[in-house]
Symmetry: C2
Subunit: 750 residues, 2 copies
Amino acid sequence: MKKIILFHISLCLSILSSFAQDLSEYVNPFIGSTNYGATNPGAIVPRGMVSVVPFNTAGEGTGKEKDSDWVSFPYDHTNTLFSGFSHVNLSGVGCPDLGAIILMPTTGELKVETEEYATTYSQEDASAGYYTNVLDRYGVKTEVSATQRAGISRFHFPAGEANIMMNLGQALSNESGGMVKMVNEQEIEGMRMVGTFCYNDPTSIYPVYFVMKVDQTAERKGIWQKHRKNNGVEGNWMAAYNGQNRILEDAYFPVLGDSLGAFFSYDFAEPTQVEVKIGVSYVSIENARENLEKEIGEKNFEQVVGNAKAQWNEVLSNVAVEGGSEDDKTVFYTSLYHSMIHPNIINDENGDYPVSKTRKTGKVENGDRYTVFSLWDTYRSLHPLLTLLYPEQQLDMVNSMLAIYDESGWLPKWELNSTETFTMVGDPASIVIADTYLKGLDKFDEQKAFEAILKNAYPIESGNPVRPGVAEYIENGYVPVDVELDEKVWGSVSTTLEYAVADWSISQYAKAIGNKEKHKEFLERAYGYRKLFDKNSKFLRPKYANGKWHEPFDPAHGANFQHNIGYVEGNAYQYNLMAQFDIPQLIKLFGGTKEIDKRLEMIFEEGHYDMANEPDIAYPYIYNYMKGYEYKTQERVLKLREEHFTNQPDGIAGNDDTGTMSAWTVFSMMGIYPDAPAVPRYALTTPAFDQITITLDQNHWKGEKITIKKEGNSNLIDAIYVNGKKQKSFFINHSDLVDGAEIIFKMKNQ
Amino acid sequence: MKKIILFHISLCLSILSSFAQDLSEYVNPFIGSTNYGATNPGAIVPRGMVSVVPFNTAGEGTGKEKDSDWVSFPYDHTNTLFSGFSHVNLSGVGCPDLGAIILMPTTGELKVETEEYATTYSQEDASAGYYTNVLDRYGVKTEVSATQRAGISRFHFPAGEANIMMNLGQALSNESGGMVKMVNEQEIEGMRMVGTFCYNDPTSIYPVYFVMKVDQTAERKGIWQKHRKNNGVEGNWMAAYNGQNRILEDAYFPVLGDSLGAFFSYDFAEPTQVEVKIGVSYVSIENARENLEKEIGEKNFEQVVGNAKAQWNEVLSNVAVEGGSEDDKTVFYTSLYHSMIHPNIINDENGDYPVSKTRKTGKVENGDRYTVFSLWDTYRSLHPLLTLLYPEQQLDMVNSMLAIYDESGWLPKWELNSTETFTMVGDPASIVIADTYLKGLDKFDEQKAFEAILKNAYPIESGNPVRPGVAEYIENGYVPVDVELDEKVWGSVSTTLEYAVADWSISQYAKAIGNKEKHKEFLERAYGYRKLFDKNSKFLRPKYANGKWHEPFDPAHGANFQHNIGYVEGNAYQYNLMAQFDIPQLIKLFGGTKEIDKRLEMIFEEGHYDMANEPDIAYPYIYNYMKGYEYKTQERVLKLREEHFTNQPDGIAGNDDTGTMSAWTVFSMMGIYPDAPAVPRYALTTPAFDQITITLDQNHWKGEKITIKKEGNSNLIDAIYVNGKKQKSFFINHSDLVDGAEIIFKMKNQ
């Protein structure tokens, strides 16, 4: 049934615009593409392995230059120099990687170095699955689109000399090394090394494979390779090409090296369109070719664009909204769109995928194999969103995590294309698995999952790579600052909190599967963080094993990524209330709602709140635990949304973190927010729309749909009705929601 | 029959030493391995694609360091630092290339850079198909051998940590770029770029493929790859590995880059032998694997060595000698051995080979495809030797040359692994083809050959790449120095002489195939060089198109590779008498035998003769054209042999030039020398042995054998008898020789 619809839509693209719900029109892929949002306007389909992204972060003078600063994105909206379309990319991440397999059209004499051929551009536009611009220097209009594992580009060349280049020397990744081979007059194949994301594991390098086809035979074609400069006396004899690029015409053999590429050059008598199709795989060139054949094959550009838009419409239509401004709708659907990029599939059409670390070839048995697990970020909002809206995907992701455990011996922490990057702190996989299970998605091996979770949770002789401070954490109830000063952990307070949230999650999982002993043990462990609460300052502070506080202590120090003893990417304010599972106890520790409200006022009003990073993103929902203060959740969430999440290129507050911020926005705009991991419940706030209808996946949830209505025009809630019954609290249980709740927010009169 | 013998010999290696004619024992592979002979003591079989050569020209302090000077060899006997066994190598050439696929055993901690692991060595020994040494730093005894397309190494490790490394970052070649992949626990595969021999064509780069197997499972194994240094600000974040090597353990995927390798590491409880087998191909990894399987497969080291020795015995036994000193025999058979290295086969076991330039896969239909055609050198002595002794190989070589013409549009000039390096001057392919044909080897397409030869011989609009000065040469009868001053040709006199010898050859070929017109035309062209003869100085001098001599003129300038207007790698003395086809006319131009004798005395006695380069190597045979002076040929040849060709590492006069000097030695020691290309005749001189018996190939020659006897003890010839008939001249026709001549040299009484 689904296939028929897709087919129909692809054939009737022109009709699309007349559909009542062409939701893809509410996607503005430029949102988040500057101000370090790190998203991009490239063409992609939901969870695609491939995205076709305008690459504009290379070359002096472009703006944020990739090698001159911490530039973690292939594209920035304020940059000016375009140097091609990269075909494997990360969206919304904080470290550079991928941004490789760069396709560039030029005209005139062939120039193969980015610095020589980069150009300003104009007439830029993008929509879900489509991007276009005009290259000023060349007068070439570009258009690109994508399938899950392939990209397609259409270049409109003026008459005269034209070049299509595949540059394997350039990339956002700091890695190098490539191979390219001409297969026939219209096809090349190759691979390119990428990896070492976030500089944590220098050995995490690996190739990505591709096959590229052009639809027209070139006049001149071949490969270039840069000679590795010889500094010896002998270099004199090769002066003319020492360290220079060489053009190998008609080179039907693999060429290898750190800097190389391939080209097709034309002499067009009249303006001409050329279509370029590129298939990608993380397994092999053969699979890249098969992916290309199966996903694009003989389809033309229009058909691929039509399919891409249809796929976006399909996934976006899970949530229908009514009312709200056009900008609100755009922010909402773009946030949903950004939630559908990572984790992405890594398996090929035929099911092959690279096994963790060794990269031997594995085969998925059912479902998809997912990658790009930025779990420290995503456990907080993205995975709960996927659990609710796309449970089949979420289950595939959990099963992918368990497969990674089988392959590597450890659950993922920050997994990228079958490598573990060991980025950030804590034990987030346990949280995701527990939260998923507790919400009723249990189609995975629950005993294996428990075994995997428990492995993460205890010390091992050779050192636990996921929880390096776990021995001392167990011994003391918290990670003592001593361990941090020994450089064994990063941020002893932050790490304690992450371990605590993980342990809370494990305790709840243990309870759910009937293991009382572990439930108790981990519950006790989860509460250990309380020992870091300093009653005087009312902050969680770094503490020595001997019980003394680390000095000096400045709760404001550590904002904006300053290095700060005790805290990871933040300060004492931003971690003050991160123990979401334990907010009632925190309120007690503070001395009651009034006291904690004071602290929240201080945080929000004195500039200590950081919407751009994850630890405090649930803070605005804390008021829902404070009777009489719930309206502040409604006010703060609205204010934060309006301030940080807008229909502008800078409309995401800092790194999107593979959709974490976008998922926060989606939830917050729907008026429900999963504030506490492994607590199957949502905090409620004012929705952004008059009506929201969530179509539930009947394979996993009992209800057909969730209906959220806002009645009245103010932003403050007067009363909440669930299935016609007035609610006492500002929370709703997950089970009530997915049974098909109708929530009516009656708003106060203004 | 041949196979049965080989099999028998390989099984009975121990019996070999008792054979009357274990001629391989007379091979001293160290001859020519210093003093720029550029040969090496590595293990090889006749015309093998693979040689396993001790690589000792890398690393500060080794002696002649490859990047610090013009070092064209992987090994020099006076060098001291061993850094592995390279598996593709050139022997006796004047430019660096290949010296790649370097296998290195070490002990202790794994170090992957040449500078870190290179070691002095001792107990070095070598014989045909076998080399051994002991690595001082590691206490490892190494032994290596080879088949045509594969190498085998046996390492004797002491107890403790041991490493076997395949270094693809290092090579004699100035090119870089490689790929390596672990296939399973005991096997890796990969490729490595090589090329740009002699710096003439920067685009002549291409991969060589290999598969490597170790016979024991390692404790640790994987790949290393060097990070390309990032000089941007971002480099700070990767400080720990920026520009450094990374070790990727258990990396079962292709790793690419300019500098990388693979390793197997062991913890041996007791001293242990490890065998390493490496198959090579210029077509594909699959073919490299097939070559390895078919040629070595399950054979052990002893069997491979036995087969290699048997193959050498088989080819060396074409010439049996009696009498002479042990050193004479060693020089002789080692020279014959050096004549059997290049040209070498490039086709795989299955017949695949890389087509010229595009390197698409071609398939040989019958015979072998040969490569490494250093024709400016080899037309003078090597190809005539192969024509006489190994006509089947010579025909395969001519057919390979014609296939190269089919593929690339041009006959080879200095062809290397399906690339044309455009090294040296002239049009040597025409000479080789004509000489071969005129001697009666005609199993090739004579019309196609003529077409190919003629294409080389005329100007073409886009510029004739083989004979760049041919238009002016035709116009003037010689290449005017104007063309040289315009940097269009190198050495106008030398180039004129090379064109003249080629044109002489073409004229003779035309005559032989009945083309009178071309015979006449090219004969006339051949004589044009005479216009460069300056009657006053009696030198061939650079001349302008307007007929004026280039000034200043110093006939002695240009020795030892000084740059010298008019001459290529030489001076006016060394080209004075190079027109061997025209010696009688030269004698006339000089004003008779007395005058030319004066010049020869001046050349030989005043230090103007250069035995180390080709243009004058036939000079000592000129006396045979001068009645009454023939004894000087006998004296000079003997003296040159004894001075320059000895049983010592410096026992070749300069570059062996892929066997050219060695072939000169073989001929000169047999007492017959093909002094004039495309004149099917040999000059005679005193043989080095009492009796020489050449077994003739019955498929090509009428006679069963040639017998050369020396009767009497002096070195001066009294009379020569051929088949019992006293000879009038000091020449013998090729046809008489191959009809099975018995030549008896009656020596003068001392």
